[in-house]
Amino acid sequence: MTGLDWVAASLIAAGVGFFIAGTIGLLRLPDPLSRLHALTKADNLGLFLVVAGLLVRVREPLLGAKLVLIWILVLGAGATAAHLIAKRAVRGDGEDAL
């Protein structure tokens, strides 16, 4: 493995660590809002680190742009979903009141 590969490997390993932390938080934390807090951070940062690790080794510019686009879309989707779920849970206007 070259030096660049080591950089990529450590970034991806850190990203996988964040995903594991998110899953553990989802299982262990006591109430829905704290679980939401745990997993939105974990998946956004985890995906960023994985994408950064893959970007280091990418040769074609188009593939790199696609990876960055995926990360931006997931950021937007994650923030939107977290707001909608939290609003619904706090107001108790769905089937599930807190």
Binding site: D5, P32, G78, A81, L84, L98
Partner: protein
Amino acid sequence: MSTFLAAAALILLVSICVGLVRVAWGPTPSDRLMAAQLLGTTGIALLLVLAPVIATPALVDVALIFALLAAVAAAAFTRRRGPGQAGP
């Protein structure tokens, strides 16, 4: 490097399987949706890591579609109302 990426993909897959426990337990529908959201993001990372290993660049496009549909799923779920409740 390929071995490392395959190992990372395997760990992500195990993480998805463990996260499915929360989908089964609930207890509220919000918890299930949150779990599905995390599983979707983990799945995107899994596809991106797996694409160079099995030399299938199309997997990146699959991940792109997943990312596009993630927000739609959450929005559709939160618009749903129980019986006897007025819509927004």
